[in-house]
Amino acid sequence: MSHPRFRTGLLAALLGVLLPVLPASAEMDLVVSDAWVREAPPGATVLAGYLKITNRGTAHATVSGVSAADFSSVEIHRTVMENGMARMLSAEQLEIPAGESFVLEPGGYHLMLFNPARPLAAGDSVELLLHVRDGACLAVDAPVARMTLDQHP
């Protein structure tokens, strides 16, 4: 899976214009990698997104939500297996302790992306906005990709 292009610098610049004062930035300590959206069958109304968030800072970080202009709403979910049953539970937020990473991947934590505004196929990309507890916002380009089992066992 190729790394998405990061637009955090651009976003930070934009936020600098939009917001009078940026909080002493914890958001720049969060690095998002391996973001991708799973290509879904035609007509799908729910897609899944995955990524890895690394907290390179010294302070605990909380991602309180995710949004995306290409979808009507985004939720954070977790797939759990209980007695052989697959269940999906909502997660309010993601906690990333200082120096640690949080991975969203198939079969575990994932983003639920509802009602795509346009048809999405492998090769497209969507912008995800991660809302950090301190009020900052991280933008990441997530390529749409077919899940291939060789890459994601």
Binding site: A40, P41, R87
Partner: protein, 214 residues
Amino acid sequence: MQQRNSFIRTKLIPGIIIGALAMGAGIWVASLLTKHSPVADPLAATRFPAARPVQAFSLLDHNGNVFDNATLAGHWSFLFFGYTHCPDVCPTTMSVLNSVARRLQDAGENIRFVMVTVDPERDTPEKLGQFVTYFNGKFIGVTGSETDLQQLTKQLGIMFMRVNDADNAAGYLVDHTASVFLFDPDGNYHAVFSPPLTAEAMAGDFSMMARDYR
């Protein structure tokens, strides 16, 4: 110090000796049990000493054809129970099944792959068809009324239940058994693959079971 020494003498040392004896006895009993238990099945799948007949059920595939006991006969069938509004587990399982299909394409066996919906209200035959054929053009989607579905799911011990999550933009989710069920060419319930599912293990297990079946 004095007290501690006496604790070591009166409690700790006898404790250690008893513990060691118990552990030794445990290992001895365990070794006896393994010696006398039947040879473990080398499969990751759970197969039954004798394949189980399937009670009558009748459903429809995504092309509108009847899918019932007779449809199971004459070839192997992998059945998965899922729904199209499920973006994580179900697509992953379908991808695994596609990988199983590719690994077994030269196995000389007639194999069908079927997803039976656990969400008949939203999964119309058309939507099911779009969903399953996205993963593999030969995959089959099957649906029916909730009552008709229960005829099949109950006897297989499959559970599915709608979860009304007010926060969820999809309206509702469906918790469901994530296993894959294997039926043999007699139309009998032959084995079950429980998660975590890997294509490699499933294809390997299938090859062994198909060989034993012949």
